[in-house]
């Protein structure tokens, strides 16, 4: 597999880890994405705002190849996602963490087994002590060390989300895609999660796309923000720029 675009760095310009060009996707008659163009730079937190149903989740599913676009191209680490072979796609996905909107915990397994699953299968770890250490460490990180032997059905919605976050972070990916990481959490936990996202960037140099409706989370995490509406990107800028935007729709997110 080829590596990240080093050649693209020219005098201060940042290298892009994800590039999306003219992305379009329809489900039957439902034209969800019309023309999405975006770039995620290295070690950047990119926040995407948008109303419900504008296709934010669909966009990031195209990035990991869970959905295939109708038009346009999606390039991650210089590789076109829809042209990869099954094995190459798998190798690429290991470098990307994906937090599902629903948490998507495996509900036939305990929290421990949920976290073990990627460790054993992707990192091929065998050593029980090493695995346990990593699990305890990450659970500590999301503030749920006591949940380790619980089943997902015994957890609250917010706890599931945090375990989902732990399961994604445990592989230390280079890119993180967060689908509404703080929705449904109380303000205190939200803040902790936002700070966790921030620390992922600082400590592990992760580049992230964060989909959220939570302005407080955006304020903490965003380096750059995009606003999506009906399948297109309608605004781009820093938190302050968008907050003071003249555009009504953009502005209304901040109220």
């Amino acid at each position: 597999m080829s590596n990240t675009t080093k050649s693209k760095i020219k005098g201060g310009e940042q290298e892009a880890v994800i590039k999306i060009n003219g992305l379009a996707k329809s489900f039957g008659a439902n034209e969800v994405l019309k023309d999405i163009n975006l770039e995620l730079h290295k070690e950047e937190n990119l926040v995407i705002l948008g109303k419900s149903g504008t296709g934010k989740s669909v966009t990031i599913k195209c990035i990991v190849g869970l959905l295939t676009q109708d038009k346009g191209n999606v390039t991650v680490f210089d590789e076109e996602v829809d042209k990869l072979s099954e094995d190459d796609l798998k190798a690429l996905r290991i470098r990307i963490g994906f937090l599902f909107q629903s948490g998507a915990l495996y509900d036939s397994m305990t929290v421990r087994e949920n976290l073990e699953f990627p460790l054993r299968r992707v990192l091929k770890l065998k050593d029980k002590n090493d695995i346990d250490k990593r699990i305890e460490e990450i659970l500590e990180g999301v503030g749920l060390p006591d949940a380790i032997d619980k089943m997902p059905s015994e957890l609250s919605g917010g706890m599931r989300k945090r375990i989902g976050l732990a399961r994604t972070m445990i592989l230390k990916p280079e890119i993180m895609l967060y689908d509404e990481p703080t929705t449904g959490l109380d303000p205190i936990t939200s803040k902790e999660i936002s700070e966790l996202i921030q620390s992922m960037k600082k400590n592990y140099h992760v580049s992230s796309i964060i989909i959220t409706h939570d302005i407080a989370c955006a304020k903490i995490t965003a380096d750059r923000m995009l606003v999506m509406d009906s399948g297109k990107i309608i605004a781009e800028g820093s938190f302050d720029e968008l907050e003071n935007s003249k555009e009504k729709l953009v502005n209304s997110f901040f109220k």
């Binding site: 329809s26 039957g28 008659a29 439902n30 034209e31 599913k61 990991v64 869970l66 798998k90 996905r93 290991i94 990307i96 994906f98 599902f100 909107q101 629903s102 998507a104 915990l105 495996y106 509900d107 036939s108 699953f117 990627p118 299968r121 992707v122 989902g164 399961r167 994604t168 592989l171």
Partner: protein, 258 residues
């Protein structure tokens, strides 16, 4: 721009058939991977097989018992009561137990698998497994199909054994026949040629049950109602497959002279 395109039914049928063939390819390609999920496979055998045992055992026993009681008056008229053990043994082993047990398993296993995988699909667990670098076909599908392939034949054999015991109980309600005499008579009529085709048949039944359950669950739509649809259509298709396979098996065994 994009409009609802009308697709004729026959095309949908072909599309469905094509998808099933592709799914089968994915299944076979993933069996022979070295990182086989043994633990999950054993867990599935337990969940799918062992937990169906009581149901299957009771059914087998009752079928044998009832068949004997039903046959008794007619056989008596011909003075052929002594043929009851043979008749029951042959019909249980060749046809009745394999088909009835397979249909029961279709109801229990295929719906269970369809519902489980369907709800995993709806709650994005399958996608989560896929993006985290895991292999959902290998972990979820291969283990379940193989568990069915192993467990359905075993359950059928157990049901046949219990069916014979049921028949023995039935015979003993009216008259007294010793255990040795009964089983002697039963087994003299059952040849190797009866056992093998019926055993092979149940392997295919098991495959049909596991495959249909997994296919329907794995390809269910979004939305919770699709979980119910997946479970339901899994039972319907699996039962149909069982009848079709049984029909083909009869033709084959007759043609081969067993």
């Amino acid at each position: 721009m994009a409009q609802e395109i009308y697709i004729p039914t026959y095309k949908k049928v072909f599309e469905e058939a094509g998808n099933q063939v592709l799914f089968m390819f994915r299944f076979f390609r993933n069996i022979f991977r070295f990182d086989f999920e043994w633990n999950e496979m054993i867990r599935q055998c337990y969940m799918i097989g062992y937990k169906s045992f009581p149901l299957v055992a009771i059914t087998g026993f009752i079928v044998g018992f009832v068949m004997t009681l039903q046959a008794e008056p007619t056989m008596k008229e011909f003075g052929a009561e002594s043929y009851i053990p043979r008749m029951v043994a042959v019909s249980l082993i060749r046809e009745i137990c394999p088909v009835i047990i397979a249909l029961i398993c279709a109801g229990k296993m295929a719906s269970g698998i369809g519902a489980e995988l369907g709800s995993m699909k709806v709650t994005e667990q399958v996608e989560a497994m896929e993006v985290s670098g895991g292999n959902p076909i290998q972990y979820l599908v291969v283990t379940r199909i193989l568990a069915c392939v192993f467990m359905v034949p075993l359950l059928t054999i157990a049901a046949e054994a219990l069916g014979l015991m049921g028949s023995y109980a039935g015979v003993n309600i009216t008259g007294h026949v010793s255990t040795t005499l009964f089983f002697n008579k039963a087994f003299t009529s059952v040849s190797f040629g009866d056992l093998i085709p019926s055993f092979v048949k149940t392997i295919f039944f098991g495959f049909a049950i596991g495959f249909v359950g997994c296919y329907k669950g794995y390809n269910s739509d979004r939305g919770t109602e699709s979980v119910g649809i997946a479970a339901n259509s899994a039972v319907v298709s699996a039962s149909l497959w069982i009848i079709v396979i049984d029909g083909i098996a009869v033709q084959l065994t007759n043609a081969l002279g067993y």
